[in-house]
Symmetry: C2
């Protein structure tokens, strides 16, 4: 059963301020909760239905599990869809990554769903680190975690002072603009940072100052733009086909 | 002002059954409504704020425009975000397209947002026709239209008996599977159909029977899958780089 205090905690973790104060975040949904077993994250509690706990006994054995009804879980969830499992997890602390390998940098990407989708496609292409400006969506927002479809455990998102980070990074910075070299023709270095801006503001001047290569996805039709997550995926595919 | 009957109509068009019965659909949001001016769609009414109507007088001159307050528009809207403009538009009737050029076929893609994002990326890559199984999301669902970001006017989506269509199409059918030839190595023909299944069921056997080439997006990391819209965009990019 979910106690009143636990319910209060789950509700509180829907808010960024509380996540920050408590150093905890929510992982919701069966697939995402099961991914925790193969991650290095510290899990405080797993609330789940009796069925889910029984079916995944071995996977979940090192976690403190609390049985709850689907009704109670649905009430406690910050997401719309039914939830057979909710975990409370510690927000990991890690130092900003050294600039090496292939990385993604995000400037002002504020939609949590987009950030989650970017984490998922980054994971598909084997990217381990995303650096993000302070005004990007919170990587621990429930909507972000949900959209990662389990990839949150394999990709680290670091919120930091993006221009300073890019300045000290000794790597090519590929900035996605509407007018740049076609990614079909760009010769990508084996290591580099893909810098993406938001759909509304693009890459802002403070970050743009450190772009070494302006790139663009060639258009063949009438659409004026692509969603930022979509564009990130397409460019990563173009980078990886040269350096797998 | 939006009359009671008009409000009733707008509300009704949130439902698929009513859209079908009335042969009408909703286009919401400033960008999408302005796109109507350059489309061949028949617009019945545009409800919009005085500001919006004044700013876009020339663009909207051939439409019957009705002034409404932002409050009334927000109440009438089926979408969450604020809406300065809502148009009521006739659902066009067109015959199933001849199988030619580059096309997309969708098997059981039921999420309206995904369908809209696919329409947008199809438009980016200059694809004019999408054929979709009868159980795909409604192309005229307000969420689909909204996610197209204006591309709904340039890409035609035809719901039809997909296996029969693929059977008579005299084109290569590239089916996206988790185990196929890498799209980085596939030689795509200049004309062909890209067939995508849903994330949960993949391409079902009735449609899979007509696949001539199994293709896959190579994975480099831990994610098990990609969102269907994302995967469509990445594969289209791989097709277009060979045939622009």
């Amino acid at each position: 059963m979910i106690s009143k205090n636990q319910l209060k905690l789950l509700r509180a973790l829907g808010q960024k301020k509380q996540r920050k104060a408590l150093g905890l975040f929510l992982v919701q949904g069966e697939k995402n909760v099961l991914e925790l077993a193969s991650s290095t994250l510290t899990v405080k509690h797993v609330f789940a239905t009796a069925d889910f706990l029984e079916q995944n006994q071995t996977t979940l054995e090192r976690f403190e599990c609390i049985e709850a009804s689907l009704d109670d879980l649905t009430k406690a969830s910050t997401l719309v869809s039914n939830n057979a499992a909710i975990a409370v997890v510690e927000i990991p602390t890690f130092a900003a990554p050294q600039a090496q390998g292939m990385m993604i940098a995000l400037d002002g990407v504020q939609d949590p769903g987009n950030l989650g989708t970017i984490i998922r496609v980054a994971d598909w292409y084997g990217i381990k680190h995303i650096v993000a400006s302070q005004d990007c969506a919170d990587p621990y927002n429930p909507k972000t975690i949900s959209a990662t479809m389990g990839s949150f455990g394999r990709v680290q998102v670091h919120q930091l002072d993006l221009p300073s980070y890019l300045e000290q990074a000794n790597l090519p910075v590929y900035g996605a603009f509407l007018e740049g070299e076609s990614v079909h023709k760009t010769e990508f270095a084996a290591e580099g940072i893909l810098l993406m801006g938001s759909e509304s503001h693009g890459i802002r001047s403070q970050a743009a100052a450190f772009v070494t290569d302006k790139i663009t996805i060639p258009a063949f039709g009438g659409a004026e733009s692509l969603n930022v997550a979509m564009a990130t995926g397409i460019i990563l595919d173009n980078m990886r086909r040269q350096h797998s």
